[in-house]
C-alpha cells in the first residue's frame, strides 16, 4: 500500500479502460457459462423429446398388441354362433 501511495492516481479516462476491462471480463465469463448452460439445456430438452417419442411408440405398440390379442376372440365368437348346433 505504501508503494501504491507513491504512484499517482490515473486520470478517469485512463483508469476507466482498466475498470471497464475488469468488469467486462467477469461479465463475459458469466455470459459464456450461461451460454454453455443453455446449450446443455437444449441437449436435455432434445433427449427428453426423444424419450417422450419412445414412450409414445411403446404405448402405441402396446395398444396394437392388446387389439391383436382381443381380435381373435372377436373373430371366434361369430364363428361359434354360425356353427351348427
Amino acid at each position: 500500500m505504501f508503494l501504491l501511495a507513491e504512484t499517482p492516481a490515473l486520470p478517469l479516462h485512463t483508469a476507466g479502460k482498466y475498470v471497464a476491462a475488469a468488469y467486462v471480463v467477469v461479465f463475459a465469463i458469466v455470459l459464456i457459462y450461461v451460454a454453455i448452460m443453455a446449450i446443455r439445456l437444449g441437449r436435455i430438452e432434445r433427449d427428453l423429446g426423444e424419450l417422450l417419442a419412445l414412450d409414445e411408440d411403446a404405448a402405441g405398440r402396446a395398444e396394437v398388441q392388446a387389439h391383436e390379442a382381443l381380435a381373435p376372440e372377436a373373430h371366434e365368437d361369430p364363428s361359434r354362433e354360425s356353427a351348427p348346433a
Binding site: T7, A9, Y18, M37
Partner: protein, 259 residues
C-alpha cells in the same frame, strides 16, 4: 432434487449483483490514492476470496465423500472445485488488469501474493486431468477426493505463509477492513455477498444439469433406448463415465425418479 430453490437463489443473485454494481459505481467514494482504478477492488477481491473458500469447501465435500462413499458428495466436490477454478481464473485476469493500471506491469514475479495464488490455480488446474487419467469411476472419485483434501489443506497454509512474508506490493485486505471508510466497507461486503450468491447459483445450476442428465440416462435405459452397459467413454466428470453412469443412474432409478 438439486433444482429446489433455484429460482429464489437466481433472483437473489440478480438483486445482489445489481445492488453491488450500483453501490460500486454510484455510492462508494473514489479512493484518494488510486482514484477510479480502485473500483476493480470490488470485483477482484471478492472473486479471490470466494475462489479460495470454494477450494476449501471442495475439500470438505471430499471428506464427506470419503466418509460416506456416496457419489453425490464427489459430484458436489467436483462442481465446487470446477466453479472455484473459473473464479480463480477471473481473479487472475482482473488482478493482472489492476496491476497493469496500478503498477504498470501485467505481472510481478517478486510478489508473493500473486505467485502463491498462481500456484494454487495451477495446482487445481491439474484436478480435471487427474480425474480424466483414471478410468475406473470409483477409483477416480476416491483419488480426486484425496487430491481435493490435500490441495484444500494447502490453501489456508499458503495464505498464512504469504501473510507472514514481509515484503509485498499487494495491498492487504482481510483483517484490515477497518481501514476502509464506511461506504467502501459496505460496498465491499455487498460485493462479497453478491459474488458468493453468484457462486452458489452457478454451482446449483451445474448440479441440477448434471443430475437431470443422469436421470434422463437412467430413464432412457429403463425404456430400453440404451443398453444396460453404457458405452465405454472416459470422462472427468463424476457419473458421466462408464460405471459412474450406472451407479448414479441406479441411485436415480431407485430413489428420486420413480413416482
Amino acid at each position: 432434487m438439486y433444482g429446489k430453490g433455484l429460482r429464489a437463489l437466481s433472483f437473489s443473485t440478480v438483486v445482489a449483483v445489481t445492488g453491488a454494481l450500483t453501490l460500486v459505481f454510484f455510492y462508494a467514494p473514489l479512493d484518494e490514492e488510486q482514484g477510479f482504478l480502485q473500483k476493480i477492488f470490488y470485483v477482484h477481491v471478492p472473486l479471490a476470496i470466494i475462489a479460495l473458500c470454494g477450494f476449501v469447501l471442495g475439500a470438505l465435500l471430499a471428506i464427506a465423500h470419503l466418509r460416506t462413499r456416496d457419489p453425490r458428495w464427489d459430484m458436489r466436490s467436483y462442481v465446487v472445485i470446477h466453479m472455484s477454478l473459473i473464479f480463480a481464473l477471473a481473479t487472475l485476469i482482473t488482478g493482472s488488469i489492476w496491476a497493469k493500471g496500478s503498477w504498470g506491469h501485467w505481472w510481478v514475479w517478486s510478489e508473493p501474493t500473486l505467485v502463491s495464488f498462481l500456484i494454487v490455480f495451477l495446482l487445481y488446474a491439474t484436478y480435471q486431468p487427474l480425474r480424466f487419467a483414471i478410468e475406473d469411476p470409483e477409483r477416480q472419485a476416491r483419488t480426486a477426493s484425496v487430491f481435493a483434501i490435500t490441495a484444500g489443506a494447502f490453501v489456508p497454509m499458503n495464505f498464512i505463509a504469504v501473510r507472514l512474508a514481509s515484503a509485498y506490493l499487494h495491498p492487504r485486505v482481510l483483517g484490515n477492513t477497518s481501514n476502509l471508510p464506511g461506504p467502501m466497507a459496505l460496498t465491499f461486503v455487498v460485493s462479497l455477498v453478491a459474488m458468493g450468491l453468484l457462486f452458489a447459483t452457478l454451482c446449483k445450476y451445474e448440479l441440477t444439469a448434471k443430475h437431470t442428465r443422469s436421470q434422463l440416462r437412467a430413464l432412457r435405459r429403463r425404456l430400453g433406448a440404451l443398453p444396460d452397459t453404457p458405452s465405454p467413454r472416459r470422462s472427468a466428470a463424476p457419473g458421466q463415465g462408464v460405471a459412474g453412469q450406472r451407479s448414479i443412474g441406479a441411485r436415480v432409478a431407485g430413489g428420486g425418479a420413480a413416482p
